[in-house]
Amino acid sequence: MISKPNFTGIGAPIQRKEDKRFITGQGQYTDDIARPGQVYAAFVRSPVAHARIKEIDASAALELEGVLAVLTGAQLKEDGIAGLICGWTVQSKDGSDMIAGEHPALAVDKVRYVGDHVAVVIGTTNHIARQGAELVGVDYEELDPVVDLESVRGANPVHEEAANNVCFEWELGEKEPTDDAFGKADHVTKLDITNNRLIPNAMEPRAAIGEYNQAEDHYTLYTTSQNPHVARLVISAFVGLAPEHKLRVIAPDVGGGFGSKIFIYAEEVVCLWAAKKVGKPVKWTGERSEAFLADAHGRDHISSAELALDKDGKFLGLRVKTIANLGAYLSTFASAVPTYLYGTLLSGQYQIPAIYVEVDGVYTNTAPVDAYRGAGRPEATYLLERIVEKAARELSIDPADLRKRNFIDQFPYQTPVIMNYDVGDYHASLEEGLERIGYSDFETRKAQSEAAGKKRGIGFSTYIEACGIAPSAAVGSLGAGVGLWESAEVRVNPTGNVEVLTGCHSHGQGHETTFAQLVSHRFGIPIESVEIVHGDTDKVQFGMGTYGSRSGAVGMSAITVACDKVITKGKKIAAHLMEVPADSVDFEDGLFLGKDSNKSLAFGEIALAAYTAHGFPTDEIEPGLKESCFYDPSNFTFPAGCHICEVEIDPETGELDIAAFVAVDDFGTVINPMIVEGQVHGGLVQGIGQAILEGCTYDKESGQLVTGSFMDYTMPRADDVPSFDVGMTVTECPSNPVGMKGCGEAGAIGATPAVINAIINALGVDSIEMPATPERIWRAANGL
């Protein structure tokens, strides 16, 4: 089919349907929505990292004309509104549940990070609300903040419940067999490593409008969410603001998320609650400065790792001890990220017979930390790919060769850390990567660089990740509070066009195009005849949202099953109309064909017949043509690949040039290669950003955010990155009907260690901290 002209189905690199409205300014983002009579919320945020609130004086703010209300945590509590929750309960080694500190939407008694929500001011204009917020007087009794990850124990408790600031002490794998492996090792490579903290910075800052209809006792929330149904569930079932059937959550066009918009935030709860209080829709649009302070941040680990090898360079065991920063409060999935999304990936692409990992999740007086593009998997990959490269250096084995000696090449493969890899070909992606980068000529290029006074280095990363999140039974057994299936409803209209309702949410991924490609392909109808509906709990049956590169593997699988149900019913209708036996109808390329007859009916004809239903045996065939599916995956999916980075360094200044970057990924079946390549590019930029540019810094004494704007937080720009060489190898995923694995996070997972390994290789040093800024590189290059 792919050879057909104007083909728009699976595999076609067609342009995105949604881009017309985005690039002509007709997108409808939360801030574009104006509800009749809406008023504005401005948050009073804590200027200090850790303090008791002695008094909140709202009198001056209330005197300002146009200020309708000043609301505090005490009032929220009086109204019986509960705090925010973490949806994943992780258990410590001793079997006890993690200690989840209180997480009120507005602070009660205490503030725990700079930017924490102290009160909200509702004003008739945004300007008045902000003026009012500045007039709220708060008397703080300051406490020493806990900032440094290595000294949380014994410091002032962030939450009284967690005396040592420890939320959980988690472990995975088996300690004794791992220790035994080290006992037998010929060589042990050790590595202390920091995974730097990042601030997501989606292009659209968060925003929310809360609306309350008194007559219906019904709430509506417009919000920048990656998963509106989960937001509704949490706000109903846990925060207790309204029952689910009395709360509608709409996530319209959303300008990027990268994980940071998965979570249910204080501002959303407060806007809904305040809307009832003041009797008007309440709108809040976050500023970039607020995004820096109070969006959930990402990463932030310190780890010690040891890799045991035999004399041939075969891996025998891996031991890892990690401290993961959770920030001041447990965000929605904060506990899962440094545990089940991290420890389970520590086997990478390698046969490592024994793995044991311990993770202490700790509280600090910093913004909450949660999933950010890759979520746990970049941290695992960075650690593993760094230590593998260090082992190669120590043993004087070519790093590509050391990897080949240890690659998993038999599938399925059960790792010692839960995951069961279904398929892959790691040699194929590495070989293609080596070919594309021109590995055999590297020494020549290095010599040329040296002749010009530059240092050249090459670095590898052969990563794996787990996407298609996730089989509900599996995540349930690990502590998830929800199942992670996905739903779809396929509605065929009488005139033969199709609406697909999905529980996934598109905030940059291009679902309106790729999902439509799938349906158009399946039904043999033009892509223009397919509309994708998402992001509204009143329209879509239910859904778990978009994150963890799950929408293809899980969401499109649900759509596929629902489409197949439509075809099955269509065949019954066709058989009735053709007067042939029900099992003698085929469906191909948009036509229902009677076997052994020359009869055929087009998809549109069957659609119309389904709704006219004239002469149907209605005891056998119901009128209408609409099917749905709640698809629960049978396994995670395992996208994997090989990233190779080549850098050239000016040792005199520490300036770094990424001379070449090759990414060869295996995402299984690809629906739209152009969109997939775009996802890879974006991911690579974020991965490179973490390696050399981005780093969230808090002052260790005061807990103030030092990198609070783009003047100090280095967002990657086009001129910071090279032109990428992107290739693909394909092993189809056997665990879902489309064969897809997911591509959204791979770039951000694979790129970071490739860049750092290249820098280390160029400089001939053992380590360098991220972000590897010019000064850090200059110091390393000159032994300073």
């Binding site: 500045e134 200044t653 810094t697 783009f710 100090d712 910071d720 800024t773 000064e775 110091r779």
Partner: protein
């Protein structure tokens, strides 16, 4: 942003009068520093007096060995001016390195030097190219004009009208940008005049300064090698998240050497 009065001046005299009459008036030219500061509620001027379209502040002209640029000229215009490109390419290069295209098409020469950000590029040009700053009240040398961090010799109601740069025999500007802000971590303008060389450093210290030791060395031999061994002291240099004083001191040497190389 807080509320303020917006007033568009029709002439420099009117601008001066408006400035004198305001409680806490600020001149608005390109607004590339002032407006973000106001948006972040870090400044709340009572009045903004817009001088952005005053013809009196416009103009680029070369006369003999003097290049005159009006205070209202935008960085992009300086970067692309054929007169400047041929008379003083180092200055056009410098203007083309400021900020990003948006900043360069809004920000002005007068606005930049009046703000005297320690990491701005233009101060290095003014001091390195032995400029005379003309204001509504007087004319003063660049070294008299730049007093300290965000501080100039301007009085409350004095407005920069234009800058006269002395056209050198040769000159070059080398900049090591801050990766986040793209301001100068260190920027060095090196110029050779019949009267001797000038080396002006921005970004490294609290305000632009001349590197006298390098000037002396270059006076006897204008070559990269002559300043190779000179070590800028890190004492009193800026130190922040992006660059320590030691690193800045080192970069002063490297950027100066490369500027000499480029100029030669």
């Amino acid at each position: 942003m807080y509320e303020f009065n917006y007033k568009k001046a029709g002439s420099l005299d009117e601008a001066k009068a408006l400035l004198a009459g305001a409680d806490d008036g600020k001149l608005l030219s390109g607004g590339q520093t002032l407006l973000p500061t106001m948006k972040q509620r870090l400044a709340m001027p009572s009045d903004l007096i817009d001088i952005g379209s005053l013809a009196e502040l416009k103009g680029i002209a070369v006369s003999g060995d003097v290049l005159s640029i009006g205070a209202g000229e935008k960085h992009a215009d300086v970067a692309s001016s054929s007169e400047i490109r041929s008379a003083l390419p180092a200055l056009a290069d410098l203007a083309g390195m400021i900020g990003d295209p948006h900043v360069r098409h809004m920000g002005t020469l007068g606005g930049s030097i009046s703000n005297n950000d320690p990491a701005a590029d233009y101060p290095a040009a003014c001091v390195g190219l032995d400029a005379t700053i003309h204001t509504t009240d007087r004319s003063l040398s660049a070294e008299e004009f730049f007093v300290g961090m965000f501080e100039t010799a301007l009085s409350e109601t004095e407005i920069v009208v234009g800058v006269d740069f002395k056209v050198p025999q040769k000159a070059a500007y080398m900049k090591f940008p801050n990766p986040a802000s793209r301001y100068a971590i260190v920027g060095v303008m090196v110029a050779q005049y019949a009267s001797g060389p000038r080396v002006a450093v921005t970004g490294a210290g609290p305000s632009v300064f001349r590197q006298m030791e390098m000037e002396q060395a270059l006076a006897s031999d204008f070559s990269p090698g002559s300043i190779e061994a000179i070590r800028q002291s890190p004492e009193s240099l800026n130190s922040d998240l992006h660059a320590s004083a030691d690193y800045r001191a080192h970069l002063v040497g490297v950027m100066a050497k490369r500027a000499v190389e480029k100029a030669s």
